[in-house]
Amino acid sequence: MRSVYPLFHPVIYLPASVLSFLSGVSVFQVGLQYLSGDISGGNARCIAMLQAFQEIIKDYSTPPEKTLSRDLTAKISSYVSFFTECNMGNAIRFLKNRIAKLPLTMPESEAKTTLQSDIDQFINEKIVVADKVIVSHSVTKIKDGDILLTYGTSSVVEMILQHAYELGKQYRVVVVDSRPKLEGQLLLRRLVAKGITCTYIHINAISYIMHEVTRVFLGASAVLSNGTVYSQVGTACVTMVAHAFQVPVLVCCEAYKFHERVHLDSICSNELGDPDAIANIPCGKELSFPDRGAKSENLQFFNLIYDVMPSDYISTIITDYGMVPPTSVPVIVREYRREHIWI
């Protein structure tokens, strides 16, 4: 069991092709931003990655005796391996699909502009407009006097809460936070600045507060074909306790995050974060390990990034295709693939 866990690599392995390619600098930058946590959140990471690809395409020139589609696909694949630590499967597949669909007779400059506009269209349709549709669906689920619970930070959930507040609904928010990222504090600041009444707790106190909660709104990083939702670590605990107290859980997720993979538990494929983030306790406490250099080999730190929550804990998934139960996810994945062919 012990050998299954991948080790955390603090240094990124750079393929040689990236180093030799000048415009790989932007990709490298984005990759660094991912790892350092400057860009957080699935949508932001996806948009940053696609914009990096746009730059690559802009600076790309076809080498002689090679077709644009094949060569560009190969280049993109090399970057994809760079990005495999992130869940960008659908976006990358979309891009490769577009490149493969380019007619061979198309001149290079036109091909490049087409690709760039396609990426823009993807970002607009699948992320920006999709978010608006999700917000309009979700706001119908919030009524006056509700106490909503959310975990960590999710851009969609934040938009929902702000839109509902603008519509004048009277509700309270419970922000649940956990270590080591403590992302909930950022969301808390923004909500309080807007004027929404918030309660802040740590994830351990979930059972205490769940009596009062009427709805749980969560974001997702990916939704898998068996209905399980891949999200920040700790989301599964939140949904489990909500289920025990019969509180409905609504997951808000754009359709491009749907995946055809299936997972049963969180250990199959996951990311590991920096172990020092766990070892370092927030200042003010004297419990941190003083002898860091002489760390015992018996002690390990495990900093999981993602979590898988089973589908029976989820009441409904709100997507830009509408509000669907978790059992409809493979249907949407299928329709989504077909849509690529038609566009």
Partner: protein
């Protein structure tokens, strides 16, 4: 003497404003002729004083130096300077032992006096921190000890009475005859014992043993003359027995960790993965005992924010050579599928088998139930509380400072009161405890062995008496003591 009577009348008149000085002086004139009345008056005066002040605080009953100890302990409990149920329980037991040893008891109704004294102190201790259930447990244990020792002494005395009856009748009847016990002696002996009602006593229409007979004079004098020699030795013996039993209780509290750790080998096997949250000394000793028996296993420790006690436990385990992995509390659901057993400590165990545990353990218990992982709770017998929980998340919980979650300095800009009603926009909730219902617990391991949650109510009968569950003493109506005396004086006047 007249002076004393005047004081007595003065005290009575405060109670009964109908009395006036003219009547008092009239009564004082009868004194030289009525010495036996004076004797009765003195005795009832004392009992009246005790019961009068007993209604109020009950503090007068204890000796002054013990009272200072009690006050000091109460202050420490209130300021939360005593941490942990084991330390609190031990200090409470030691304190009650001092109270008992310094309590002066008369010849009659000794058990009742001791019980009153312990209840008086116990009420104050419980009021100091109602959430620290171990204090109430120890108070009730001591009360149970007093009742049990009294019962055993009485049965021994009754056996002794049999023999003494035999020796009295020896010259009259032959040794083959059955010893005849006078019915009055038997009734007197059983009346002075605080025994739970049995069918026999109910049939014989014995007085209810729940009410402690507060007037020592009513029935005691007639019995006292018949068994005076027995009584003096009995009084010494009761105190001695009770103090011995309380010493045993203190020793049990001290050694509960070792007794629980002895059972570790049965439950932890090779190549197992154990999960725990936060830090508990019982769990630490449990795991180390298994390690000493050369079992090889891994431990996942969830850090238990915001107190981060899990880091302390992880350090201790690593120091003793155990493979430990520290995870965040949010990763518990992710990791529990890889775990063989969850072992945790408890703050208190309620009578229905529910557990008051450090915050976050309800989440762990639900995850363990989902994945069919056994959830084992280690608890010493001093943590077993005879009360049933009602709304325990609120009533048996303590909220700690929000600064453990949010730094006040960083979030000072969010502290404005901006909503329309003038209420704060930002609330922070930081509870200390969690309630785990009995259906989520697989096994309790106590110093008496392993038990099912559904069995815990039965253990209560071993340690506690039903009469002690409610510790508030009933207010003694003081009119009862006075009316016979009033009628007596009126008869004198007439």
């Amino acid at each position: 003497m007249i002076y004393l009577i005047k004081i007595y009348i003065f005290l009575r008149s405060r109670q009964n404003p109908g009395l006036n000085c003219r009547e008092a002086h009239a009564w004082a004139g009868y004194l030289p002729c009525t010495c036996w009345v004076l004797g009765l008056v003195m005795e009832t005066c004392c009992s009246f004083c005790i019961s009068y002040s007993g209604e109020g605080s009950g503090v007068v009953v204890t000796m002054p130096d013990v009272q200072s100890l009690v006050n000091e302990f109460i202050l420490r409990i209130k300021k939360r300077k005593v941490e942990g149920s084991q330390a609190t329980a031990r200090q409470a037991a030691v304190l009650l032992r001092s109270v008992i040893s310094q309590q002066r008891i008369g010849y009659t109704n000794q058990a009742g006096t001791l019980i009153d004294a312990v209840k008086a102190v116990g009420e104050q201790l419980i009021a100091a921190n109602p959430v620290e259930l171990a204090v109430g447990n120890i108070v009730r244990r001591v009360l149970h000890i007093i009742r049990e020792e009294d019962l055993s002494l009485t049965t021994a005395a009754m056996v002794g009475l049999n023999l003494s009856a035999v020796s009295d009748d020896d010259d009259d009847t032959g040794p083959d005859d059955h010893p005849v016990l006078s019915a009055a002696a038997v009734a007197a002996a059983s009346r002075s014992t605080l025994r739970p009602p049995s069918l026999q006593t109910l049939l014989e229409d014995m007085p209810d043993s729940a009410t402690v007979p507060h007037t020592s004079s009513s029935g005691g004098d007639s019995e006292g003359k018949s068994k005076s020699a027995d009584k003096s030795s009995r009084s010494r013996k009761l105190k001695h027995d009770v103090i011995e039993a309380v010493n045993e209780l203190i020793q049990d509290i001290d050694t509960c960790h070792e007794q629980i750790a002895e059972q570790a080998v049965e439950h932890i096997h090779h190549n197992e993965v154990i999960l725990t949250l936060g830090s508990s000394r019982t769990v630490l000793q449990f795991l180390c005992a298994a390690r000493e028996k050369k079992r090889l296993f891994w431990v996942f420790v969830a850090e238990g924010a915001p107190r981060y006690q899990g880091h302390l436990l992880a350090k201790e385990l690593v120091a003793r050579g155990l493979q430990t992995t520290l995870i965040t509390d949010s990763a518990v659901f992710a990791m529990i599928s890889q775990v063989n057993m969850v072992i945790v400590g408890a703050h208190a165990v309620m009578a229905n088998g529910g557990v008051i545990a450090p915050v976050g353990l309800n989440m762990v218990a639900l995850a363990a139930k989902r994945h069919a992982v056994p959830f084992v709770v280690l608890a010493g017998s001093h943590k077993l509380c005879p009360l049933y929980p009602h709304n325990p998340e609120v009533l048996l919980n303590e909220l700690r400072s929000p600064s453990e979650l949010l730094d006040f300095g960083e979030f000072s800009d969010c502290m404005d009161f901006r909503s329309g009603l003038g209420s704060p926009l930002l609330h922070v909730v930081n509870p200390s405890f969690d309630y785990v219902p009995p259906k989520l617990v697989s096994l309790f391991i106590t110093d008496t062995g392993g038990h099912n949650p559904s069995y815990m109510y039965r253990l209560i009968a071993d340690y506690y008496s039903a009469d002690d569950l409610v510790l508030q003493r009933k207010a003694v109506p003081s009119n009862r003591a006075q009316d016979p005396i009033l009628t007596l004086f009126i008869l004198q006047i007439v």
